[in-house]
Structure formats: structure tokens, C-alpha cells
């Protein structure tokens, strides 16, 4: 593990920030260079950006796996504690409005997301759950290798949903796992909003979103059945009937 402590003689926020900006680039560059050098990260690579620009009590550890861990959060808080330069977090107006009518919006998002992803064969199931004001989707994928094109589609959908529902914290986690393990993977409290294997079973349970999606599947099945019936009527073998 490479460990570096940084100490500052210059305590002004602007100065600290300038040094910090340099530090981030230094860290990012070092990691990138480390990868290109196949795992060899020299202390000299890491130190070049600090030289005489020393950051106030900011300490990092960089382990060989490339994880950056801040080992002294308290000291970092000191560095960033100036309200004049950083401000204080406040919920946006959108977030407040969403809290007032969260159920409706949440179900709209769930439906939107499920409708977009259900066409992908690789999507086995989609779950959602709320953590505080955040809506988190867990998507189970029946894939045996990372498909960049497929994931690209998912991220496009994510971006569109974020655009559609600005201000709502949305999270998406994709898990490649065999279908039979989903019970172990997913918390029982998570809400199932799409299950590929349940399309033929009209017995979705509780929520409004599930009922909506379920009824949509039934509609699709009905329309497909009707088309098949019409095709059958038009087929040569039956034309004489």
C-alpha cells in the first residue's frame, strides 16, 4: 500500500482548492498511468503533483487495487468546512414536490422503466425499492458476458428517465445472475415490477404498478392471439371454409 500524507502551510480556502484540483488530476493520472504500467505505481508518480503544493491535512491511502480511500474524513471536513465557498446542501424544490405525491410518480417511473426494458430478452426481472427519497431499481440479467451494446441501451433509458423525472433521485443496479438465485439476491421487501417468466401467468400481486404491467401483458397476449386468429382465417388451408 502506498500511503501519502499531505500537510498545508497555506490555509486559505482558495489556495487549498487550487491545490486540491491539482491533487485530483494527479490521483486520476496516477491511477491511469498505473493501469498502463500494468500495476506498477511509483511513489514518484504520485508525488509529482504535491511537490511544494501541500494540502491541508488531507490524507489518502491508495491500495494496489486502485481504490482510493480517504483515511481521514475529519481532516477533509476541515478543508471543506468553509460555508462561504461550499454552501450547504438543501433539497431542491422538485424533491419537496415529489415527496408530496411520491406514490404516483414512483409508479409512473416504474412503469416507464419496465416498459422500456422488458423488450430485452436478457432482462429476467426488475425490482424496485425506496430508500428515503431515492428510488432504486435492481435489474437481474441473464447474461454470461458483458454486452456493451445492451448496457448502452440501458444507460440510454436511464438518461431518458432522468430527463423525464428531473429531481427524483434514481439508482440503477444491474446484476448478472441466474434466475433461480433471485430470491436469495433480492430483499423480500423489494417490489417486483417485471418478471419475464411470469408473463404467461396473469397472477401478479399487490401494487398498482404490477397490476398495470400485468394487464398490459394480458393485452399484448390478447392482441397477439387475435392476430394469430386472423392470420389463421386468411391462411390458404382455411380459405375454402
Amino acid at each position: 500500500m502506498i500511503y501519502r500524507s499531505l500537510y498545508s502551510r497555506d490555509k486559505t480556502p482558495d489556495r487549498n482548492n487550487e491545490v486540491l484540483m491539482t491533487a485530483w488530476i494527479g490521483v486520476a493520472d496516477s491511477i491511469e498511468r498505473d493501469e498502463k504500467n500494468k500495476g506498477v505505481l511509483l511513489a514518484s508518480d504520485f508525488i509529482h503533483f504535491i511537490d511544494n503544493n501541500l494540502v491541508s491535512k488531507l490524507e489518502y491511502s491508495l491500495d494496489v487495487c486502485g481504490h482510493i480511500k480517504e483515511v481521514s474524513r475529519a481532516s477533509s471536513d476541515l478543508l471543506f468546512s468553509s460555508p462561504s465557498t461550499l454552501g450547504v446542501y438543501k433539497p431542491s424544490i422538485n424533491q419537496v414536490l415529489i415527496e408530496e405525491g411520491s406514490e404516483i410518480v414512483t409508479e409512473r417511473i416504474e412503469l416507464f422503466f419496465a416498459q422500456k426494458l422488458k423488450i430485452c430478452e436478457e432482462v429476467e426481472a426488475i425490482y424496485s425499492h425506496k430508500h428515503l427519497d431515492t428510488l432504486i431499481f435492481t435489474i437481474l440479467l441473464n447474461t454470461t458476458e458483458y454486452d456493451e451494446d445492451l448496457m448502452e441501451q440501458f444507460f440510454e433509458v436511464e438518461y431518458r428517465i432522468r430527463n423525464e423525472f428531473i429531481g427524483i433521485p434514481l439508482r440503477f443496479n444491474y446484476l448478472p445472475i441466474l434466475y433461480k438465485d433471485k430470491e436469495k439476491l433480492v430483499n423480500p421487501d423489494y417490489k417486483l415490477i417485471f418478471d419475464k417468466n411470469a408473463i404467461s401467468k396473469p397472477s401478479f400481486s399487490s401494487s398498482q404498478a404490477q397490476r398495470t404491467i400485468s394487464s398490459e401483458f394480458e393485452t399484448i397476449s390478447f392482441i397477439q392471439g387475435l392476430d394469430a386468429y386472423n392470420n389463421l382465417l386468411r391462411s390458404p388451408s382455411l380459405s375454402g371454409i
Binding site: N17, L20, M21, W24, I25, V27, A28, D29, I31, E32, D34, E35, K36, C65, G66, H67, I68, E70, R73, S76, D77, L79, F80, S81, T85, L86, G87, Y89, L132, T134, T144, E145, Y146, E148, M151, E152, F155, E156, E158, Y159, R162, P169, R171, N173, Y174, L175, P176, I177, L178, K180, D181, K184, L185
Partner: protein, 113 residues
């Protein structure tokens, strides 16, 4: 490798936030009860579709790789492990294309050498 590539992107993003007015830092500005990674993801979203897409690729690759490295937390992953799940081309693309794309986006906002 995928994990390292993602963390490089993460720190380019931190650089961008530190360069903004007012400057921000995940540890200091991320709301309580919000994951730093999720908060940074929101910041990547604000960079536009392409940058968001790229960042999400790197993040998911990193997360999935770690998940598969830890043997799925004891779950049945069908015998799939990280080095099988990700082709070499995906890893090469991550560092040679995606990371560079993301870096270029950051550079276009706040130039650095």
C-alpha cells in the same frame, strides 16, 4: 483493471467538481444518507448523455467485476467469474476509449495539462 479505470474516471470527475464555482467535493457536499457513488453519478448526469453513458459503463463494469470476484456473495452465478464475464476487448475499450472520452469531456470544461 476495470476497477482502476473507473476510479480514474471518478477522480477526473472530482477534479471537475473542485474546479466548479462553488467548488465541491463528494465527501463534503454529498448529503447525509446518500452514497458518494450515487451522488457522483448525479454529477456525471449533469455532464450530458455521452459523459453519463460513459461513466455508467465504467461504474457498472467496476461494480459487476467486484461482485463476480467475490463469488457473487455466495450466490450461484452459474460459474461465471469476472475474467470470463468481461472480454479482453471490453477492458481495453474501457481504458483506451471510455476513460479517454470521459477525460476529454472534463478537459473541455476545465482544461488541465
Amino acid at each position: 483493471m476495470l476497477t482502476i479505470t473507473f476510479y480514474a474516471a471518478l477522480h477526473y470527475l472530482e477534479y471537475k467538481l473542485a474546479s466548479d464555482t462553488p467548488p465541491m467535493h463528494a465527501q463534503a457536499n454529498c448529503p447525509v444518507n446518500t452514497s458518494l457513488h450515487y451522488w457522483l453519478e448525479d454529477k456525471a448526469y449533469s455532464l450530458g448523455n455521452n459523459a453519463y453513458n460513459t461513466y455508467r459503463h465504467l461504474r457498472e463494469q467496476s461494480r459487476i467485476a467486484r461482485y463476480l470476484c467475490s463469488n457473487g456473495g455466495g450466490l450461484n452465478t452459474g460459474g461465471v467469474i469476472a475474467c470470463n464475464y468481461f472480454r479482453n476487448s471490453v477492458a481495453i475499450n474501457a481504458i483506451d476509449v471510455k476513460l479517454q472520452t470521459f477525460k476529454s469531456k472534463i478537459k473541455s470544461i476545465h482544461a488541465f495539462t
